[in-house]
């Protein structure tokens, strides 16, 4: 299995996963979305709220604010040595106190630990008019996206099969498929249509070119064929800023690896090691 990046920075990664299978690509995608922990506000103690929003609504909006997460400092509550009581090792606390008239923004959330500040400062939470006030304390915990979408570390996270475009000798370079392609993947060559190599990965496999070719009266089969390579996948992973993309990818792979290793250990225990020796 191999991976080659066309882009890798803190917020976006674009890469090709090669020599893989649909099942592994999907497991990787699902693990990145649903099993990488991040911080999100889970408990809110509201001291004062006479804004237009109900307490529940306010708490829900607070929960959805992405928070910078340091996975080396925080552990999940159920794994914490405090036994789920809540301590600085598993909880990040925030205070918010704002009086109107103005809009309460994510920058008004003051973290006890500056490393867990909201990722963006300008996320609006609620608009306050004269004499309205919001005073609250909030507690963020680590959890995973499978539990609730507010703990997803990713925004766009998906893949598509690598496009394989073949143009056979029946192509008469009429150019209808070139005009039809919404992504500009095709160009008109001297004798037939050609693929613009730099744009090949932009192909969305919409097959409008095949339809255009058929509409040109070429017969029952088009001269251009769009297929997908089931061993190569084009991934896009965007982070919401709580974790760098590289960390999301690495954590997800470590998670799949740990599950596999756990399974090996358990089955070895069950079979008393005999299967292990026999199979290896």
């Amino acid at each position: 299995m191999n991976i080659s990046f066309s882009r890798l920075d803190d917020t976006i990664a674009r890469f090709t996963l090669g020599d893989s299978s649909p099942a592994f690509a999907n497991a990787f995608r699902r693990t990145m979305i649903g099993e990488v922990p991040t911080l999100a506000i889970e408990e809110v103690r509201i001291y004062d709220n006479n804004s237009a929003l109900f307490d529940e609504m306010l708490a829900h909006r607070l929960g959805l604010i992405p928070l910078t997460t340091d996975l080396r400092t925080y552990v999940r509550m159920e794994e914490c040595s405090c036994g789920g009581e809540g301590c600085p090792g598993c909880c990040a606390t925030y205070t918010l106190s704002v009086e109107g008239p103005r809009t309460v923004c994510s920058s008004d959330l003051i973290p006890a630990d500056p490393k867990t500040a909201p990722v963006h400062d300008t996320i609006p939470i609620v608009k306050l008019v004269e004499d309205q006030k919001v005073v609250l304390e909030a507690r963020a915990v680590l959890n995973i996206g499978r539990e609730h979408a507010k703990w997803q570390p990713t925004l766009a996270c998906g893949y598509k099969s690598y496009p394989v475009i073949t143009i056979d000798e029946r192509c008469d370079a009429c150019g209808m498929c070139v005009d039809e392609c919404p992504r500009g993947v095709l160009a008109l060559g001297s004798r037939s249509v050609e693929i613009v190599e730099a744009k090949l990965e932009d192909c969305s496999l919409c097959k409008l070119c095949e339809k255009a070719c058929l509409a040109g009266g070429i017969g029952e089969n088009p001269a251009i064929h769009i297929n997908q390579d089931d061993t190569r996948y084009l991934f896009v992973v965007e982070s919401d800023g709580s974790l760098p993309v590289r960390e999301i990818m690495e954590y997800a792979l470590l998670r799949i690896k740990k599950k596999s290793e756990d399974l090996v250990d358990i089955l070895n225990d069950i079979s008393g090691g005999t299967v292990h020796e026999a199979s290896s």
């Binding site: 299995m1 191999n2 991976i3 080659s4 990046f5 890798l8 996963l17 893989s20 299978s21 649909p22 099942a23 592994f24 999907n26 497991a27 699902r30 693990t31 649903g34 099993e35 794994e79 499978r146 590289r246 990818m249 690495e250 792979l253 470590l254 799949i256 690896k257 599950k259 596999s260 290793e261 756990d262 399974l263 090996v264 358990i266 089955l267 070895n268 069950i270 079979s271 299967v275 292990h276 026999a278 199979s279 290896s280």
Partner: protein, 94 residues
């Protein structure tokens, strides 16, 4: 978070295992990897309801041991992850 497994049925050429707390994420990758083993006949999982624990069924042909096949498939999965982790570390350091 440790994996918990319950063995429902274990015969020389057939095994049924319940994976507590797992979902399609891992089970689909595992069954796909199992089916790459020529000694494996059937490898499929059933989740009766959306919230049920998946039940894996593996049957084998020849003298292949079903638990051995699962162990090998898991090792291959872990190997894929190692490959990718190494390449990501290499790409990030460039």
């Amino acid at each position: 978070m440790h994996m918990e497994i319950k063995i429902i049925d274990l015969e020389p050429k057939k095994a049924r295992l319940l994976f507590v707390g797992e979902d399609h994420t891992f089970m689909n990758a595992l069954t796909d990897e199992l089916l790459r083993d020529p000694g494996v006949d059937v490898a499929r999982y059933i989740m009766e309801f959306h919230f049920s624990d998946p039940e894996l069924l593996v049957t084998t042909v020849g003298d292949r041991d079903p638990l051995g096949a699962i162990i090998d498939a898991s090792r291959r999965l872990a190997g894929h992850c190692d490959d990718l982790l190494e390449q990501i570390a290499g790409a990030a350091s460039r």
